[in-house]
């Protein structure tokens, strides 16, 4: 298998969720030619679609960018990159409202203004609600991209690695056209990574199987700095049963006394959570403890229940008459009356490729936008920050990349590097396949990440995970799949699993290094927050001997 197709563009945007779509529009708007790739079908895959639709912006008359910034820092337990948090707070209002120009609409109140919700950690009501949630946001932006003459969409396209020019700057990518089966070189003057998080690594998570962290690994291999890879946001109540509903979630917040006043129960019917309901990280600690103590149900979860709500059946039915609960009902489970088996699951990656406010990475010509970029949240994040960050940093990444493309005469991809990447992929093909049971390796890895890098971590478990990640990589090195051409799903899964195994090692290394508990990084062997030593990012860089784990001072 050799490179048989080639495209040239000013700006290559990899990943077409809310960030990548916005980056493409910004770059094309500045006059650059853009190729926008996505490994699944456009606006029918990716993490954005699972978002409920909350988007923060300081639009309330008593609110300000300064208050928003203060809330980000406080919620993130002081670990946010201050420059990035300030950028997010200052740009949020303009970028969020700008999405209306692309056909995105927000829920309005009776007076015609934006309906603003106030979520925990927000000192003012600051959450707007996108109509149609993440799907509505992606649909509007995708339509704008499709109809823009300067943007060429190449979806069903799996990038396998970045390609530098002869001086080491990002100059494109090699990938697999899934519809044609062709190995393709995308040559670019600047590259934006917008590939999302790696939550699929955890056996329990509420993201689609796309969330394998591909871009983070490619950036790491290209030499970019990653920060705070241990900082994964967990959600307390992700469904673990039945199999068809794994990954859907029910609201922890609905259990509060002033909402539906429910609880999460153990296998003996005892409530696990005290009232008033604790904050999310404390709740997860209690849930994880109960599960570890063997108080879980038949499928490893605890039982979320609002069927005996003192608010009455009508109030429960009304509260749960929304899309995500109707989805659960379609599977024969009625969350209004049934006990729903849940466990804490990975929800959002706060760490990632370290960027500056212009989304530059430490590799020339390489830019990144959330969720693969960070860390503007810290050790916890405010509800509604995820989608807002896609628009703020997506727009900045696209603009900065278009400037870089205009300045960069374009040495073009180093042919030797492109060939090497193509050869790396081709080496995985063999007409008889074999060498490793991919499904078994995947399941073993995901179970280990859940057990050792979930809620509640310790040095022994993390060391075990690091070792297992290394063993998995070694076993995968021998794996071969047949060359089936069009939509070679086994090759896709092999490449994704290699990425997952590499990133699992990075998560384990960073989590092992941070010997304290902060936000959603809960170390059972270091239960206290340690501001004297740990108001610093963990940092991972690539060396010829493998990943090097260190720390980096906070900015701003």
């Amino acid at each position: 298998m050799k490179i048989t197709a080639r495209h040239q563009t000013d700006v290559l945007v990899i990943g077409a969720g809310a960030s990548g779509l916005r980056a493409a529009l910004a770059a094309a708007g500045a006059g650059a030619s853009v190729i926008l790739t996505n490994k699944g079908p456009l606006a029918r895959s990716g993490i954005t679609l699972t978002a409920a639709g909350g988007m923060q912006a300081p639009l309330h008359p008593d609110d300000s960018a300064a208050l928003f910034y203060d809330d980000i820092i406080a919620c993130g337990c002081g670990l946010a990159d201050g420059d990035l948090a300030r950028t997010l707070a200052e740009d949020a209002a303009d970028r969020v409202l700008e999405t209306e120009r692309y056909g995105v609409t927000f829920v309005r109140d009776a007076a015609g203004g934006y309906a603003l919700g106030q979520f925990p950690g927000q000192s003012r009501p600051r959450n707007l609600f996108v109509r149609g949630g993440g799907i509505g946001l992606a649909a509007g932006l995708a339509k704008a991209c499709r109809s823009h003459g300067g943007i060429k969409v190449i979806d069903d396209f799996l990038v396998t690695g970045l390609v530098p020019d002869t001086r080491g700057a990002a100059a494109g990518a090699v990938g697999l056209g899934l519809r044609s089966g062709e190995l393709t070189l995308l040559a670019a003057r600047a590259v934006v990574l917008a590939t999302g998080g790696c939550q699929w690594l955890w056996a329990t998570n509420d993201c689609p199987a796309d969330a394998t962290g591909d871009g983070i690994v490619y950036a790491h291999r290209a030499g970019a700095e990653l920060v705070d890879m241990e900082m994964v946001l967990f959600y307390p109540s992700v469904l673990v049963w039945p199999p068809s509903l794994k990954g859907a979630f029910v609201h922890y917040e609905f259990l509060a006394s002033d909402v539906l006043d429910g609880n999460i129960y153990d296998n003996a019917g005892r409530p696990v959570l005290p009232k008033p309901l604790p904050v999310r990280d404390e709740a997860m600690r209690l849930l994880a403890r109960a599960i570890k103590d063997g108080r879980g149900g038949p499928h490893g979860g605890l039982l979320w229940y609002v069927g005996d709500s003192p608010k009455g059946a009508a109030a429960v039915a009304a509260k749960l008459d929304i899309l995500q609960y109707n989805y659960i009902r379609a599977h024969g489970v009625d969350p209004a009356t049934d006990r729903v088996e849940v466990a804490p699951g990975a929800h959002y990656l706060m760490g990632g490729i370290h960027i500056d406010p212009d989304c530059r990475t430490s590799v020339a010509g390489l830019f990144a936008a959330p969720e693969c970029a960070g860390n503007f949240d810290g050790a916890n994040r405010l509800a509604g920050n995820g989608l807002t960050a896609t628009q703020v940093f997506g727009a900045r990444a696209g603009l900065a990349a278009s400037r870089r493309a205009a300045e960069n005469g374009g040495a073009g991809p180093d042919p030797a590097a492109a060939e090497a990447e193509a050869a790396r992929v081709a080496a995985r093909l063999d007409k008889n396949g074999g060498g490793a049971d991919l499904a078994a390796l995947r399941d073993r890895l995901r179970a280990a990440v859940q057990e050792y890098a979930g809620v509640g971590r310790d040095a022994a478990g993390l060391a075990r995970l690091a070792r297992l990640a290394g063993e998995t990589r070694a076993e995968l090195a021998a794996a071969r799949v047949p060359d089936t051409g069009v939509f070679n799903q086994r090759l896709i899964e092999l490449i994704e699993l290699e990425n997952m195994a590499e990133i699992a090692g990075l998560v384990a290394g960073c989590a092992l290094l941070r010997a304290e508990t902060r936000g959603h990084h809960i170390r059972d062997d270091f239960p206290a927050r340690d501001d004297d030593n740990w108001l610093r990012h963990t940092l991972v860089t690539r060396t010829s001997a493998g990943p090097l784990f260190a720390t980096k001072p906070l900015r701003g």
């Binding site: 699944g40 509420d206 499904a439 069009v486 939509f487």
Partner: protein, 118 residues
């Protein structure tokens, strides 16, 4: 085999490099619980790694990544439920060109809508 613990699935198989037309292939999927068509396809993939299907989902029954044809009718695979003991036929969605097996190319809608596609 205990009928109450098995779902019989007939899935469409099509290899663009080798086949002029598709065919149905039968699998017995062990499950005591009802499964969505999407979960069922993933189980078939576990039984036969050469079988291909889309795996992305929005958890809301809206994004349409899972669109297929179930027992002759176009449907969302993620919210169409099959019970143990039942037999189900799963084919590519009728409105899009087939890439492989039940995976379609959403960028190539077919002209004749809802007419069986192929």
């Amino acid at each position: 085999m205990d009928n109450s613990l098995t779902i019989t699935v007939k899935v469409f198989r099509f290899d663009p490099a080798a086949d002029k037309s598709g065919r149905l292939e039968q699998f017995a999927v062990a499950s005591a619980a009802p499964l969505s068509v999407m979960a069922l396809l993933a189980k078939v993939r576990e039984l036969d790694a050469t079988f291909c299907c889309r795996t992305s989902t929005c958890f809301k029954g809206r994004c349409g990544s899972c669109l297929v044809r179930v027992n002759g009718k176009d449907a969302f695979g993620c919210t169409t439920l099959v019970k143990p003991g039942e037999t189900v036929v799963i084919e590519p969605h009728s409105r899009y060109a087939v890439l492989r097996d039940v995976v379609v190319d959403f960028s190539r809608p077919l002209a004749a809508e809802g007419e069986g596609g192929q």
